[in-house]
Amino acid sequence: MAAPGERLSVTLRERLEARDVKVGCDAGDCGACTVLLDGRPVCACLMPTQRVAGHAVDTLAGLVRTDPLAQTLTQTFQDHGAAQCGICTPGMMVAAVALLRDTPRPQAAEVQDALGGVLCRCTGYRKILDAVLAAGHPPAPLTGSGAVGSAIRRLDGAAKVTGTEVFGDDVAPPGTLELRVIRSPHPRARFQFGDLAQYARAAGLEAVLTADDIGGTNCFGVIPDFADQPVFAETETRFQGEAIAAVIATPDRMRQFDPVDFPVTWTVLDPVMTVEAAQDATAPQLHANRPGNLLCGGLVQCGDADAALARADVTVTGQFSTSFVEHAYIEPEAGYAVPEGDRIAVYACTQAPVMDLDGLEHILGIDRRRIRIVPTAVGGGFGSKLDLSVQPYLALGVLKTGKPVRMAYSRHESMQSTTKRHPAEISITIGATRDGKICGLQFAGDFNTGAYASWGPTVATRVPIHASGPYLVRDYRAQSRAIHTHSPPSGAFRGFGVPQAAAALEPLLDDLATKLGLDPLEFRISNALQAGEPTVCGQVFSQGVGITACLTALRPAWAAAKADCASFNAGQGAHGFLRRGVGVAAGWYGCGNTSLPNPSTIKAGIRANGQIVLHQGAVDIGQGSSTVITQIFAQALGVSVDQVVLVGADTDLTPDAGKTSASRQTFVSGNAARRTGLALRQQILAQLNAADTARIVPGPTGLSVIDAAQTHALDLTRQPPNGEGYVLQAMETYDPPTQPPDENGQGAPYAQFGYAAHLAMVEVDLALGTVRALGFTAAHDVGQAINPLLVEGQVQGGIAQGLGMTLMEEFVPGRTANLHDYLIPTIGDMPPVDTLIIEEPDAHGPFGAKGLGEHVLIPTAPALLNAIHHATGLRMTRLPVTPSRLHAAIKAHADA
């Protein structure tokens, strides 16, 4: 029996086991909970359950069982790669069913109108649009073999399109005790609790947790040397939304819980919210051991930048600033922890299960063997789910109550309390000689790293290495600083600061080309880094440098777009208010940890019945690593993908494949999978003394090997299986070869870089300051596309995030912690993307493959900024370029 006014989403999920209904915001802003009410799409989170008595409610899982349109969509969504993480997929598909019932063969604009109420953060929407359009036509299924280089459906796709995928909030059984965190409403405040024991009794709570309940250390952080964040603040908070306590209660009690009743008194203190304020001599110091609120800095220098700039024929200089950017995955952090004997198992959405285990070991103060981390499906991560969120609270809750405990962040607390992209203040000066070669580059960037270290040191390290862009710059000096403020911690977000640096560098390269009278694309091509030339870190790659190929691939689109813009703008006449522009920009990104050990280990075994099992611990957060790593493993072993059984990430079952971060899973875990496949292959062939060229053929009852036209059955029953049931087993590790930097940042920080170049075309409304993206051409050097469908998905999704960062996304602490004040692109904002896959094989990559995930948004913002400049003549230096800001610039320019 639903409580009065209970949200239909709660009733469906908790009383009727319809966990296919996803909750992303509880405010109608994301559409993930879309269900059909008498055939019409509605948000279940806004619907009182009592209202639907006597009416028909359809959720995705039910539609998939009974509705032919939904069944067709399950196929087209998989064939088009329309589901990445899959958290928005139920909402998208339900909304699409309603459309297709009325309009069996919709136009693109009709699909956009119908799906405009469902947000997706992974795909960039174009694959979803294609999948819905395809549902109105005869099916054209994917026919890839699964071999490396072939486009196949993601292996975990079926669960995502049928509503059976299990995300962080989908594990706990109904009735489980619920936990809620009490958070600071002030950025900086001292606090004192009232009588918590009495409160807990009076309020009917199971337990209250505070810092006093922490048996280990009330301190965590992703980089051990910089760990500084408390699970619960003890006396003073450092950002709005910081945890001070938690309450645990039954679901019925929790539905009535009002956090304003919690007994705490606050003494509000003045915060420092900007880098400038934090460096003032009188500023409060966030951490006693970090004077000046300086977390750390980074430096890379080579040659003599000052001298080169002095001798340059032309120089350009500029200051750029960017904002906090929120990851805005549609799945808020959620999980479930349960006592298993004297152990604790934590099921939660995460990008880094072994790091979670490391963190909990210290916080709980118990033997790590007593902790098991089981990643659930992750409804989007993009860097923020590398850090601990719900895990410590859940584990502490289990220790306190001895019972299973669950929790899910509300959208508000997810946005308040989890990490953000660093706001940056960047100054650059670049010189060039008259012959069009870069001559000297100086870069200084200050990054607002928020209240705690998180990945701030990584950003400070990565930025100076990448701030040159993928160009030959012999005289270079780049410095970065990460500064604390009373803001949410800035952490990892797709690119670790490199997108901000590119958004400053690439516009200035356009300005430099203009000063030299050169075409911006050709200027970049003539300065592009070549194999055999040193990077700014002095690292020389003899192969695999694909930036020239990326840039030259844009030439046809560049010529066509320039002509299109010229003709459109001429047709506007003097009074027309629309102007089109086109811009290009490039980017590069080193795959894997910077100059640090970064191993992945993959395990595989063969059972007595011939079944091949792959223990793959790399967390697939939607990008497709489970599919890609399996394709690589199968290719190395010499079998097909569908002959491999996958065991997903679980610290009890899978060796450490590292974190899903730094665009490392295809490269590093892929290499470990390849080595494991090869090792297992050698073991099989050795059993039969078969040649290296022999073919392994799994059958229903065992393996056979075909060698020189002779088939040998492999008797797997002769030897006893090991403890895990495997007759043969292989486990291999790969750690990319890097070298630590010297005091000038010279060294070999990465074993490989991936390269990218984007072209963006925009239409600017000069009267309103609005910018509409018309299309992108994106050239990406991925070395070897393991699965081209997934490559396109990464590219389109990354561009959508770059578009959002450029035009609309600005997180203001205390003001925009929801999805109607913080805007991300909708399906109506993303134009077509033409993906040009460049394959400049890398000597270290598995089958030549390079990482891709983060590269995809590095050139997007500057390509858009350059397109806006082309359309308007205005150099916008602050992100995002909101209509209000662009309008102000247009007006100031007209007045001047």
Binding site: P48, G117, A767, G828, P883, S884
Partner: protein, 286 residues
């Protein structure tokens, strides 16, 4: 009381006499405003009251039941072209999911300065009918909303219906919304226009309303007066809107845009909305 679903206006009024009663209609403002707090314990669901539904012709115009959803409005084929602006506002309101449940009365009672329904209803000269413990009151929408999130609703009141006075059959209308993205977006500014002409294609009646640029959306009487008597083709060719016409607006700076931006954008939107309405008359020389 818990959750009650009255089936008549009188039952609703009785239920709303409970001191903690909260109305739930579409739920699209009620639930988001809770944030992390619990659902109110006493809810009066007004969706099952027949008097709150239906879009019907009256001797003097149109009556729209307060619980009419935006989708109901979009699908009301019998409404004249004067309602096209309101329908355009409906299609720009949130998303299909929101339009399917959010009600016209809810949009007015929530009284956001950026309420998408208000400018078009102001341009239709709508009146609202309230019922409460002391009986029924009818008042112009322009006076019903008194400030940001402030209305003339008293405790226990309920909005029953909206009334739109009849307009000449030939009336045309338009609506333009400015936001930072395509869907699910709170307006930075918006403009609604209703126009009608004489047989010489001159403007007889012009109503222009601007939203999100003042504490309460407002009509622009000076602009409306200046448009009267103008040949409609002037609206297509001449920049007729001046800063003076918008002098009564008082936009604010917020995360969506600066006050200056809103003021300038409103002017352009007025110009374009007038053109969008005027072009529907297909003047002879077009």
């Amino acid at each position: 009381m818990g959750y009650v679903t009255p089936s008549s206006l009188q039952d609703a009024v009785d239920a709303l006499s409970h001191p903690e009663a909260v109305i739930v209609a579409g739920g699209t403002d009620l639930y988001p405003a809770l944030r992390d707090r619990p659902v109110p314990a006493n809810l009066v669901d007004i969706s099952a009251i027949p008097a709150l539904h239906g879009i019907t012709a009256t001797p003097t115009g149109w009556r729209i039941g307060g619980a009419t959803t935006w989708t109901d409005l979009i699908r009301a084929r019998h409404l004249p072209a004067a309602f096209d602006g309101l329908k355009a506002a409906a299609r720009d309101l949130g998303s299909v999911q929101i339009q399917n449940v959010a009600t016209l009365a809810g949009n007015l009672c929530n009284a956001s300065p950026a309420a998408d329904g208000v400018p078009a209803l102001l341009a239709l000269d709508a009146e609202v009918e309230l019922i409460g413990p002391t009986g029924t009151r009818v008042m112009p929408l322009a006076t019903f909303v008194t400030g940001p999130r402030q209305t003339q609703l008293r405790p226990g009141d309920l909005m029953v219906a909206l009334y739109v006075p009849a307009l000449p059959d030939s009336s045309q209308s338009s609506f333009l919304k400015l936001g930072s993205r395509r869907y699910l977006v709170i307006s930075i500014a918006m403009v609604a226009v209703v126009l009608w002409l004489d047989d010489q294609d001159r403007v007889v009646g012009a109503r222009v309303a601007v939203g999100a640029c003042s504490a309460v959306a407002q009509r622009l009487p000076k602009l409306e007066a200046d448009l009267r008597g103008r040949p409609v083709r002037d609206l297509l060719t001449e920049p007729l809107v001046t800063k003076a016409h918008l002098a009564s607006l008082a936009p604010i700076d917020d995360i969506r845009g600066s006050a200056t931006y809103r003021q300038d954008a409103a002017l352009h939107l007025c110009q374009r909305a007038l053109r969008a309405a005027a072009v529907k008359f297909r003047p002879a020389d077009e």
